[in-house]
Symmetry: C2
Subunit: 228 residues, 2 copies
DNA sequence: CCTGAACCATGAAACTTCTCATTATAGAAG
DNA sequence: CTTCTATAATGAGAAGTTTCATGGTTCAGG
């Protein structure tokens, strides 16, 4: 993954470079003409484009890029902050903009967003337990040939139990993962969804694989319940 | 924030150290006795404790710690993986456990969870816009002296607009932040909540500060709507 | 074996979120 | 100024989530 930073302030450019290197191989340009040239000569996955640039301003760079049919996602960097700027940028085909000064974390968030949106997530992973298959991409479940309706939280829970099969997971662990530790809700919700999930799996007799461990939590276990 | 790693495998200990240094100042011990000694002599915010240790096993360390009334959160590291182990660990007062081998990301997640849970988040930040006050901790809103009911997503949206006041935010930006870019939903939901939010603010005439920018997004603006 | 306390399961109801169809509006083009 | 089109606003209903109250289960201690 390659990123081009077009920014004349060398300090800022270096800072951005450091941050972005978590996600990209980074190249830099320090004025508009150089930036346009590089963008036309290479294939980047994303371009960070300052507006106030020597020789050719950012809007012009963006306009010419689009005229050359280069559709690389462009994130505009603007100073605080006329409305007109944004209108202008989006009209020319910018994908996002960031107002300076910005937080490192914000930049990463926006970069990730642009990348994900452009790369249409392709991992179609699947998790399997006996006859039960979870399609993690479409979030659908089937047992053998029959679709099982596991919506939202039920699917999340099933996925987490399966991920940790044959290992006890506490209600706190489940809660932290699915609801997030700063949720408004309490861990009691885990019991509710354990119940719902079992109900959904019951017609297939798969509820018997979900075992309760008093005072501990739950486990999806290969060994079936011993009766009597 | 200080973390103590009690782990005899020096490679693993070093790996954990690297990961944990994002969040903590790290100290290490390489056997049970040394670990117990350090834990009794210093104040840590969290302890990572292996079970299989020379001289004194992890359970014994944990038991003695608790006997000494040291309530530092302890995360147990166990190999894959007897049930008895976990029962044992939790009975002695462990706060969490991680099964080896684990992902770096999982370790960070658990560390954060333990820390947050123990440090009872204390930031009671507040965001203000004219007479409108958002209590970010309790997620409640008031205008002047009157409580305004903004539930869930409405509050999220208000918070995000306020965070970016006098700056246009696109629907994509709002969506990415509040719903997350891999959400099942579409950005159209943003319009729905903009509408709901305005409705909630209308009795206080605060809806007039939320402006729509066609083709761009929304802005919470200090300047009131110009009429006529 | 019986009892009590803690813990868990579960259904029903309240609430929130999301979808979708309809209506309204801004802005461009004639 | 009027019309047309794309975009946004909104209400209603469907779907999903959470709360809560009740009843069941386990396990320790008599």
């Amino acid at each position: 993954m390659k990123l081009l930073i077009i920014e004349d302030d060398r300090n800022l450019s270096a800072t951005i470079r450091e941050t972005a290197e978590e996600l990209f191989t980074v190249e830099q340009a320090f004025d508009g003409e150089e930036g346009l040239f590089q963008a036309e000569q290479n294939i980047y996955d994303c371009i960070l484009l300052d507006i106030m640039l020597p020789y050719m301003n950012g809007y012009e760079v963006l306009k010419r890029l689009r005229e050359s049919k280069i559709q690389t996602p462009v994130i505009i960097l603007t100073a605080k902050d006329g409305i007109d700027d944004k209108l202008h940028g989006f009209r020319e085909g910018a994908d996002d903009y960031i107002v300076k000064p910005f937080h490192r974390e914000e930049l990463i968030f926006r970069l990730k967003a642009v990348v994900r949106r452009s790369s249409g997530r392709s991992e179609d992973e699947v998790a399997v337990f006996h006859e039960l298959t979870l399609d993690l991409k479409n979030r659908t479940a089937r047992i053998g040939d029959t679709a099982v309706v596991l919506n939202g939280r039920q699917f999340d829970l099933m996925e987490y139990l399966l991920l940790n099969k044959n290992s006890i997971v506490t209600k706190e662990q489940i809660f932290d993962r699915i609801w997030g530790f700063d949720s408004e809700t309490t861990v009691a919700i885990v019991e509710v969804y354990a119940s719902k999930l079992r109900k959904s799996l019951k017609p297939f007799h798969y509820d018997r694989f979900i075992k309760t461990f008093r005072g501990l939590g739950y486990m999806l276990s290969d060994e079936e319940e011993q009766d009597g």
